[in-house]
């Protein structure tokens, strides 16, 4: 029983940390550009796919594969920001619909390029770590550690660098930030590319744990939505708390009850949060316009 419990928690944390990565990128893009990015999961899919090709099929060294996969996806994100998202920033409804169009384009381009068959990627470190009779598979620990490293570095970047300060200022009020001399036109693409890179990195981390196909993007997008509604749209700590909460709910319900019950439970959590605290658990109230 104890072993199952610990295993469930480790699984929950792994899934939760991936959701945290997805939700942070999602919430950042919304916080700064006011765009709900329905294509967020497609960048996750792109990251996972590129990693599967570079590391899985072509046997490139691990770190180079990670860098290339995330870098190429970031470039794709930059391109999309330039062509599409930039035109819709601040326009919440049209920006969201446009992102759905981008999702359709990206998902089906992957389908054309790489086919619909699922690919598997060998684990980065095989074997298990055993502590006091309880075993942790390394493949899962790598995901948790990788995600923690990403979240901590992002936090340092936002909290302690000039560009991070500028991003926070733009998130609070883009117009006033501009008046203060912040180059808003640079902050938007930076935030978007950062968000996309986090999604791509999440995809890279998950590639060895699940099978990679063009259709894996939608589920994490939905999760990112659910999480940011729970945590508060635009709130990074909210994304962390919401992500871990949803990961644990999913893992526990999946182990002890059923997977679809877990989805319904998450939906009920969302409804409850919306009823009791519409701005989300850690979100600030929207200022009256």
């Amino acid at each position: 029983m104890e072993i199952i419990l610990v295993q469930t928690i480790v699984n929950g944390l792994m899934v939760g940390m991936i959701y945290v990565l997805m939700a942070i990128g999602f919430t950042m893009v919304f916080g700064i550009m006011r765009i709900v990015n329905f294509a967020h999961g497609e960048f996750y899919m792109a990251g996972a796919f590129l990693f599967a090709i570079l590391y899985g099929s072509n046997n490139l060294p691990f770190f180079i594969s990670v860098l290339l996969a995330v870098g190429a996806t970031a470039l794709l994100g930059l391109l999309m920001e330039r062509i599409v998202f930039r035109k819709f920033r601040g326009n919440e409804l049209n920006g969201m619909i446009a992102s759905v169009g981008v999702a359709l384009i990206l998902q089906n381009s992957a389908l054309l390029l790489w086919g619909s068959s699922a690919r598997t990627v060998p684990p980065v470190i095989s074997g298990v770590l055993s502590v006091g009779g309880i075993v942790f598979p390394w493949s899962r620990l790598v995901v948790i550690i990788g995600a923690i490293v990403a979240v901590v570095s992002l936090n340092l970047l936002i909290g302690h660098t000039r560009i991070g300060r500028a991003m926070r200022a733009v998130a609070q009020d883009a117009e006033i930030a501009q008046v203060q001399g912040i180059r808003v036109d640079i902050i938007f693409p930076v935030a978007f590319v950062l968000g996309v890179s986090l999604a791509a990195f999440a995809g890279v981390l998950m590639a060895p744990v699940l099978s990679v196909s063009p259709f894996i993007g939608l589920a994490p997008t939905l999760k990112a939505f659910v999480i940011v509604v729970i945590g508060g749209l635009g709130s990074v700590p909210g994304a962390v708390a919401g992500g871990l909460l949803i990961g644990l709910i999913e893992s526990f319900a999946g182990t002890f009850v059923s997977a679809s019950l877990s989805e319904i439970l998450q939906f009920l959590v969302v409804i409850a949060v919306v009823l009791l605290r519409p701005q989300g658990l850690l979100g600030r109230k929207e200022r009256e316009a």
Partner: protein, 328 residues
């Protein structure tokens, strides 16, 4: 609100269009076109439902979820022996009741939050359809849904179903048009335009939005039921997120104001996937590109082009008249 379609459409044009649509089965080269037209009628109802929700300033990414609910309700009841002419109405009502309850809770939220929760709802609907396999048949769905029969006349084949679908679609169109012209329609438009201002003039905008969401989702439930009786089949895959997206695309491409926009959107986008059927992935890429390009360059939809063209003509006429006046 002075949108093109709130004015009466030219009656002659409407009569000719309806007449042509009604005669389609006689001059269509083959049955496939009749099928396409039937799908178009069902799509038009779904997009009109979405348009009503949009009229009150909200978008629903869960529209397919309500069509799915409607399809299952109607299929299950008719398979239990209820008359299939009646069950689509019960299906519409069921979808409307769910929408009213859900909307009452989540329509307090501003635009994007609402969309997220509606989207989550449609995912739940698909999951429930998959999970409750003893009732819904799980992933296999329900096969052999009874056809609709009107006073003993069974609408089994395509040419028989099409007139019925057309009548349903035109009725929905007419009712939507009347709704837009009613005081409630005006309140909906005002809510979309400026919620705070509308509120300050004593209108309960939350209630207006809940009503719009209920009507729009009810229509989706009804249309989902019709489609189920037409295809005689429903499964969790019948209405997924991507179906919701395609209705939204039709609305955006056609235009969100008035009833002309949905008609244009459906006419343009219903045949598109069929024309591109041989290229599975490309079809969706083109769909996505059309959506993005329309939002960028024709944000008010193709129907707005007619309006622009008309006002240009008016300007040209007026200036020509002015010039004529000045020249002796």
């Amino acid at each position: 609100m002075n949108s093109p379609a709130t004015k009466p459409m030219p009656y002659v044009g409407v009569t000719i269009a309806v007449g042509l649509a009604a005669l389609l089965p006689w001059f269509a080269p083959n049955q496939f076109y009749v099928h396409l037209a039937t799908v178009g009628c069902i799509n038009l109802m779904l997009v009109l439902g979405l348009a009503i929700i949009a009229r009150a300033g909200q978008l629903s990414m869960g529209h397919g979820g309500f069509a799915l609910v409607g399809g299952y309700v109607s299929a299950l009841l008719s398979m239990k022996g209820w008359p299939p002419l009646l069950t689509p109405f019960i299906a519409g009502l069921a979808a409307a009741v769910i929408a009213a309850a859900l909307g009452w809770i989540i329509l307090r939220l501003r635009g994007v939050y609402f969309v997220l929760v509606a989207f989550a709802f449609s995912q739940i609907a698909v999951l429930l359809a998959l999970d409750m396999s003893s009732v819904t048949g799980g992933a296999n769905g329900l096969v052999g849904v009874p056809p609709i029969s009107i006073f003993g006349y069974v609408l089994r084949a395509k040419p028989q179903f099409y007139p019925f679908a057309l009548v349903c679609a035109l009725t929905t169109l007419l009712l939507t048009w009347l709704l837009y012209r009613s005081p409630l329609g005006t309140m909906m438009a005002a809510t979309a335009e400026n919620q705070r201002l509308t509120e300050s003039s004593g209108i309960d905008t939350h209630r207006v939005q809940v009503i719009a969401f209920t009507i729009g989702s009810g229509i989706a439930g009804f249309a989902g039921a019709l489609s189920t009786h037409y295809l005689r089949f429903i499964s969790p895959d019948s209405y997924t997120f991507w179906e919701s997206v395609s209705y939204l695309t039709m609305l955006v491409v056609g235009g969100r104001d008035g009833v002309l926009g949905p008609v244009v959107g459906v006419l343009v986008l219903t045949p598109l996937p069929e024309l591109l059927r041989s290229t599975e992935g490309l079809q969706h890429i083109i769909y996505g590109a059309v959506l993005v390009l329309c939002l960028m360059f024709v944000p008010n939809g193709l129907a707005s082009l007619v309006q622009i063209w008309r006002s240009r003509q008016r300007v040209a006429r007026t200036s020509a008249a002015l010039v004529a006046e000045e020249v002796p």
